[in-house]
Symmetry: D2
Subunit: 240 residues, 4 copies
């Protein structure tokens, strides 16, 4: 069993600016997300945040990250394009990327998707029920037919993303909306999982099932040992 090196990235602004949020996530959402991963025998976990130099994503950190999780919301625009370029490059080389909740609007997710990643939203403390539509997928190991979250922000379709390679979760909201809330993509040699749950004003990153899915997703997105493609001018393999 080889070790998966996880970097949990967080914008880490809401928690510092808002007392109520700080009460829910006193050490930042990144620590809540990192905590259960740290207990996994096959994972090595560190965190990185926006206001660190290079957003905590130096060349050394990126080069030694197998899976990067991403939470951002109010400061997407402050993420430097140069860092986004590097993260994109690493994903295409094989690094896994788990994009959480409002990360749908991050530069890196929009860059990887090629679309606006726009959606409908509403803050009304609504219930969310995430239905598993692909029960054979490893990301739902140990999950029941659905996950229920008592109070969430609503996200609704149309979610402007490319059709996922595999759609794993579809969410129901009492206000009348649905949402593709667990979406797998292959991009380059890398795997990307978008997972909707998580809002700064609710203790969602303490929910057993949400953490279980993130943990499963880290394992699913970990880089494999497939070939590193050779690009460019190529000699013929057969006599012409």
């Amino acid at each position: 069993m080889s070790t998966i090196r996880v970097t949990v990235w967080n914008e880490y602004r809401h928690e510092k600016q808002n007392e109520e949020i700080a009460e829910i996530y006193p050490d930042g959402m990144h620590e809540a997300i990192a905590a259960p991963l740290r207990t996994q025998p096959d994972m090595e976990v560190r965190t990185a945040t926006l206001d660190e130099p290079e957003h905590g994503l130096t060349d050394e950190v990126l080069a030694s990250t197998d899976v990067l999780t991403w939470w951002g919301h109010m400061a997407h625009g402050e993420v430097q394009d140069e860092i986004v370029d590097k993260v994109q490059g690493r994903v295409l080389d094989g690094m896994g990327l788990i994009v959480l909740h409002s990360g749908h609007f991050s530069k890196i997710f929009r860059r990887m998707m090629g679309t606006t990643c726009n959606l409908k939203w509403r803050e009304a403390e609504e219930k969310e029920r995430l239905w598993v539509v692909e029960p054979g997928h490893p990301i739902v190991d140990g999950i029941g037919e659905f996950i229920e979250l008592e109070h969430t922000e609503m996200y609704g379709e149309r979610f402007d993303i490319p059709q996922p390679d595999t759609l794993v979760f579809v969410s129901w909201f009492p206000g009348g909306e649905v949402f593709r809330s667990g979406c797998c993509f292959h991009r380059g040699r890398g795997k990307i999982f978008y997972f909707r749950p998580g809002h700064e004003t609710f203790p969602i990153y303490y929910h057993r099932d949400v953490l279980k899915v993130i943990t499963n997703a880290v394992r699913w997105a970990a880089p494999g040992e497939g070939p590193m493609p050779v690009f460019g001018n190529a000699k013929p393999l057969e006599r012409l």
Copy 2:
């Protein structure tokens, strides 16, 4: 039958700089590509090229384009980012995009895909045989089991694109390579078709089947009348 407004875009540099290429395409590749489209009763065709102001893609032109075809090669870097932004926006709003041959490395295609779009290549005047793998797709109407091109540049896998929504053609080359050479994508409300054939030094855009596929692809990629999604803050549709 409503009219499809097609804009055939061409870099139009090789033809002006190289005599042999100018002999093959005396009016530029764009005119060769446009010619058969002009004969279609349901199409209205114009052309645009790199060295025109705004690359010929003014707001007026883009707003009145239903399907844009794109050929570029030696000057991808000269396409202004601002124009790429606008083209991307129009595709997401519903404009069809047909990317031809070396257009795989254009800013607009890489932007829409989120990947490097890199590949293997070789100029050895090789034969190409494009096999139809999805015979029920409208893009292959009127095409046989394969298309054969006597002299082409080779493109080989790994082609670094997201898995297409529908894979229509797979190419065979005598040097030992294969290539996913006809690929359909939905992005936003728009449809994108990548089609490999076409090289500046071969008269490929006079080939009956190549032109037939491009003509079919224009019809397939034409915008529909589906809903224009509403994004942003949304009131509940049900009583909360």
Copy 3:
């Protein structure tokens, strides 16, 4: 504009056995479904029902059908396997197939999918809201962001089908469920569209949007003119 020959198939038992249903559909659901198609200038429409000889699907009828729509519920088991074989063969050859509502459990749909096609259901006269998740698809031409049906039977996930080639609609129900309610599949040279709306005890096949989607789906599923593949022993195309 070539003519699409449509055969609207209906089990036609509920309407003959239940007075309330007969009041809603006095000539059978097939006539309600056929009516708007008959007004299309590019369609030629006939109907067929279970209790006709060969279920109305003789070799002549099948050979001259471009798109077959299918509604069945209480008598799936009475459809002869020999007819199912023939319908499957025609779909693989290119005939379109539109499977409606309880047709999810028909022999032909289960045969084409390879799965149980099972689901959750409930008869509680619930509202259904079908959200468009792929607004660029021709099947949603002329449809808004969603379709609302006041009283329906509920179908809920897990819907045991292969992941659709394109997912077009996702349904919301007030009881807390979601459902992939508009699903496109390519099988052989044929196209299949599963569309959920429609129950014998509700006048759903008079709803403008439901009929619009069925009409669009008939056009989308109509056979193309792509190649008829040649199978079996093949001589080499190149010198070995």
Copy 4:
């Protein structure tokens, strides 16, 4: 690390009827396929063959099989429909299925696909080069950019299968054909991998890379611990 219980199924007729084939596979192809799997610390391997009672696939065997590999060719018709029913049921419940080479025409594969699974073929001892088109997929762990087999039977497109959920390999043949030779499908809770290499008259199941892919595929196809869906009449989860 939990143990994966593998059953390697083989028709086992060619090896008994033809001396040359018996020389290549003295204990049957199943033993060649089983051998490297037996060396894996996380696998428990047994074999089953056509001429055993119930083809070696009793209820007990099926119930205790996590992944079933399938090789058949000359006697597909002798596999009892009742056993095919049971295997299909087990796949839908989560058992992995690896279909090898001429198994494309087996009852079970055609049943799972819903299509003819027909293709072109030729016995001319041709080379095959399998190109990896999805280098991030776990099935190609430890594989280079392509696998080369010196002498094979040719299979060519059109391969009449549904578009795979993930296309992993595309093959090149010197006679001018291409083939989708490594194809992943989800069906029910089960995963299916079709892998082309393998012919009774060539020692292909001793090839390092072929065996590596089969080993990887067994791990990929092993059942997960996702939810067992509940089907049928469902009480509402919300107050109606």
